[in-house]
Amino acid sequence: MSVTPFIVLSAILFTIGAVGVLTRRNAIVVFMCVELMLNASNLALVTFSRANGNLDGQIAAFFVMVVAAAEVVVGLAIIMTIFRTRRSASVDDASLLKY
């Protein structure tokens, strides 16, 4: 089982996630795209773990998941709070901090 296809898939998923972050306006979808990027990197970590024959990559992927969980909890709470005050979940609406 070769390694390169997994890594290429990981790269493609990461790029799609990044473009999603850039183009989507709904904060929740943007967040989903961030999760996609994290998952793409997890795939790379697991693949490298197999390529190197030790489990450190899997441990790293595990920690990424933990951090992602914490991040999602706080991030969604922030989105909720913003939505509550501004009646909008668009990232473009929160644009007061500018020139």
Partner: protein, 647 residues
Amino acid sequence: MTTAMTAHVLMHAPPVVDPSSAHGVFSILWLVIALPALGAVVLLLGGKRTDRWGHLLGVATVATSFLLSLILFISLLGRHSGNRQVSQHLWTWFTAGSYHVEFGLLYDQLSALFLLLITGVGALIHVYSVGYMEHDDRRRRFFGYLNLFITAMLILVLASDFVGVFLGWEGVGLASYLLIGFWQHKPTAAAAAKKAFVINRIGDIGLSLGASLIFVTFGSTSFAVVSANAHNASSGTLTAIGLLLLLAACGKSAQFPLQSWLLDAMEGPTPVSALIHAATMVTAGVYLIVRSNFIFSLTENARTGVIVVGCITLLMGAVIGCAKDDIKKALAGSTMSQIGYMVLAAGLGPAGYAFAIFHLLTHGFFKANMFLGAGSVMHGMDDDVNMRHYGALRKAMPYTFATFSIGYLAILGVPPFAGFWSKDKIIEAAFGDNLVVGLCALIGAGVTAFYMTRLMLLTFLSEKRWEKDVHPHESPTVMTVPLMALAGLSAVGGLLLVNNWITTWLSPVVGAHVEHKLGVGSVGMSLIALVVVVLGAAIAWQLVGQRPIPTVAPEKVSFLTRAARADLYGDAFNDEVIVKPGVAGIRGLLVFDATIVDGIVEGLAAAFTAVSNAFRHVQNGFVRSYALMLFAGALVVLFALLAVNFG
């Protein structure tokens, strides 16, 4: 000066300062300085608590210093003439690399005389001030300043190092500033103090640069090292050092071209004028030149400069003294002139050093005497200084008149009073050097006779011209006793020349005395000088004594009189040549600053503002734009990684 003369000087290399360290009675040397310093500290820091007895402490410290100086002097007399230089090392002042400045004292034949003059005349003037300043609320402070001055002056003449001299030099400058402006409520006094301070600063720059150059040349500033190595330095360097020291002397001793502060300095209380601006501080320049004889003896050019300065100043001072109606300013002009004599003598080299010091001492006696006499007159005339309001005071103030007359005869150079011996010797030495210089000195003596006779006529003789409600009276005993003591010294000061004592005494410090034989001989020269003096006095008698004296100075006078009244346009000259171009330069700089400097700075600021304004639109508030920039940055990093790995 002829080249033969120069060779002659070089043959007799100037003596080296090589003191033995102090022990026995000489170990009290530091006390001479410490006592007035203690007085100054107690009086200035003690505040109002010391008001009642402060003046007594001031007198006591200086009087004790005088007694110590006397003991030291007698001990020095007891020593062998080759063993009369004593040094006392107090502490290491500062150290920088190989440069050490030791705070040490040098007690030799020269400083011994100065110690006696400063503490002796200082003590007498302290006593006099007790009476003179009796009604002044700030008498305690006055005595604090006087003690500070004595301390600084003693440091100046006792220091064994140019840096130590500089410390004393600045100290006397400060004390002089404080005392000229003592009546600071008078704007004229405040301005005079500031003027004296600023002009003295120019001289101080000369001293500090001179000391720096000495350090660069010799690697040390102590007299001992410099005097031992002076002959190794190049003549150009020595001339430069000499001229810088001359600049310093010009500032402190009110010599041309830095003379203009002395006349204004008369705004200070009269004892100050007597002590600082007649007897001691203004002679510091002469002391500096004589002390640095190991430099001046080796540089004929610098000495020529000294002679020129001395000649110009002695004539200028005398001419100014002729036209002044203010008794203190007339005396100040006379001081300038007399110090011109000393500087001239000092410029003559080994032929004149001893006479410069001799005249300095006698002048210290008779000029302090006359200043105190003038103070006594002012005391009796309700502080009026205009001589046109005096007249016929000899009956009202017999003691003052008697003592002042002795001072008058002394300054004129009438035998056997002190001035005769000292001034005649200078004139004689001047003729020995150069005919023009000698004529200057001789004419100066005649003019001196003129203005002093005029002063005497206006003040003590002629008819009464008193203002209303002025009742002249003799001053209290506490003031007349110092007058009598100083008059006594003015009368017998010439004794120092008996058997050429002073030249012999000073020769280990300034080198062997060089005598010039004049065609007319010493006695003939004295007779010629006496004739000129009598002539000057007679002209004054004719012009002033035989005519009615107007109480207001007449306006229609000759150009020379007008020029002399305006201090020979010294201030006007300074104003035109230094102050106005300076002000114009500052104005120009202001414009330069406002347009060019500010223009550059503000232009830069405006450019940055414009650039920032253009770039701030990048901050559009959309988080997605920021993310895009981040992502583009990641792309760049990726390219860089690939370029490094596969490039």
